[in-house]
Symmetry: C2
Subunit: 271 residues, 2 copies
């Protein structure tokens, strides 16, 4: 059972896990150093704990202790209770969802483990924006993608904003991180996956018409530049989402990566 | 030809159009009162001017006067040139895209005018988030939706963040605003549009299987609550995007409105 501790100072050292949530660089080093991540809001906290992440502590406004009572009963960690001004002083912005948890990361499974029983997977190459990563996880989970593979440099799905935008879907879908950007697509091919590279190039095969076979992996590139030429070349087929000819001539000629991912995942899962 | 004016004070009254861009409430009243809106970044400024919006003024770092030289030659408005610190002092945040334009709104066309030659339209009911509105415009334009109809309370596509997220697609697709939330869907039906109401309800017809006929309108609801029961009842058919049964049982049971809109628009345009 959790122990409740009232805190009244935003500089209380016991709240160090929650310091300055808007400072991306500070948070990256803090989270990496301690192997922690943050979950925000009742629903996401529940999902993170249900996924087996050990709880380091919780921090919340007193109004949240009752709705989370069953969770707090089940964990053995301090629960820091603070008023809204103290919360904002710690985090650097108003905490609308009123409850935060600091949790321990778990070792990611190896690539082979997440591929073993999967038929439809996404492979994300070097996405930079955490909100995009969270949005793609949410969409992939809802539509039924079996697993997600991240390139070595792809943004972290457990970074606070990714967790939040995913609505906790980062805990619902198995994922692994490649160790070798150059060679690891070979592991997917060896496992029998057809590799489909999504590109804005309208000369590619429309996603709806792509031959997928029993196992298929959809490769999605980074926000600015899309897939690298190496991954485009490694793919079995280049696929696209057909754009309106009128839009192309008006210069409105691309979808953002989350919209493209949503449409492509839907096509990937329809068959 | 534009006249160049160097400004060195963030409180210069000539820059009032650009004041405190992050203050949503201030901006809403300022923009409504003066019938103006802002475009950010070279590409979006070009699109806004090409769409016929008269220019009130421009504000930019000096490095942007050369890339925009042809535009500045063609407009008859003051061009305020400021250093980055002054720019940030005026707007309240670093202006990464380095160039802003204040433009005049144009009267929106009546509903009948945007429907006249359209076969595939979106109807947005009471969306609140400007980024979502911008994202949906971008996606709709790229995929070839002919027109967008807004409910009376739907968020403004010319609000700064909507314009920015749309990448200027708000200037590429005709749109109108309903005057009567209760009755104006009747005007679409009278014009021969099949009304399809998008809902997360998995008992609805999968979007891919919906009967559309020659003219079809896809109704999208607000972020939190979806479509109102009145609009659901007015529709000819309720349509859904099939979710994974496993995801449903894991509680990851919905798409955000932009992902849902992307998938539904793609299905709307495929036929």
């Amino acid at each position: 059972m959790a122990s409740f501790l009232t805190v009244t100072s935003a500089t209380d050292p016991r709240l160090a896990d929650y310091t300055r949530l808007r400072d991306v660089n500070l948070r990256r080093s803090l989270e990496a150093e301690h192997g922690l991540f943050l979950a925000e809001g009742e629903k996401v906290i529940r999902r993170a704990i249900a996924a087996g992440h050990p709880v380091r502590s919780l921090l919340m406004a007193s109004r949240w202790t009752a709705p989370l009572a069953d969770v707090l009963d089940s964990v053995d960690a301090p629960v820091y209770v603070a008023d809204d001004a103290t919360l904002e002083g710690v985090t650097g912005f108003p905490v609308h969802r009123g409850a935060l948890a600091s949790l321990e990361r778990l070792p990611l499974p190896p690539l082979a483990a997440v591929l073993r029983d999967a038929r439809r997977v996404l492979v994300l190459e070097d996405l930079v924006d955490h909100a995009n990563v969270g949005s793609i996880f949410r969409c992939a989970a809802a539509l039924g993608v079996d697993a997600i593979v991240l390139s070595p440099r792809c943004a972290d799905p457990l970074y606070r904003r990714a967790v939040k935008v995913s609505m906790g879907a980062v805990f619902a879908i198995p994922y692994a991180r490649m160790t070798n950007w150059h060679d690891d697509l070979g592991e997917l091919r060896a496992a029998g996956f057809t590799l489909l590279a999504l590109t804005p190039d309208q000369a590619a095969t429309p996603m709806d018409k792509a031959a997928m076979g029993d196992r298929a992996a959809l490769l999605l590139g980074s926000e600015g530049d899309g897939l690298t030429s190496h991954w485009l070349d490694e793919a079995d087929e280049r696929v696209c989402i057909p754009m309106s000819p009128g839009a192309m001539s008006a210069g409105v000629d691309s979808l953002n990566v989350t919209a493209a991912a949503a449409i492509a995942c839907h096509a990937l899962l329809r068959r």
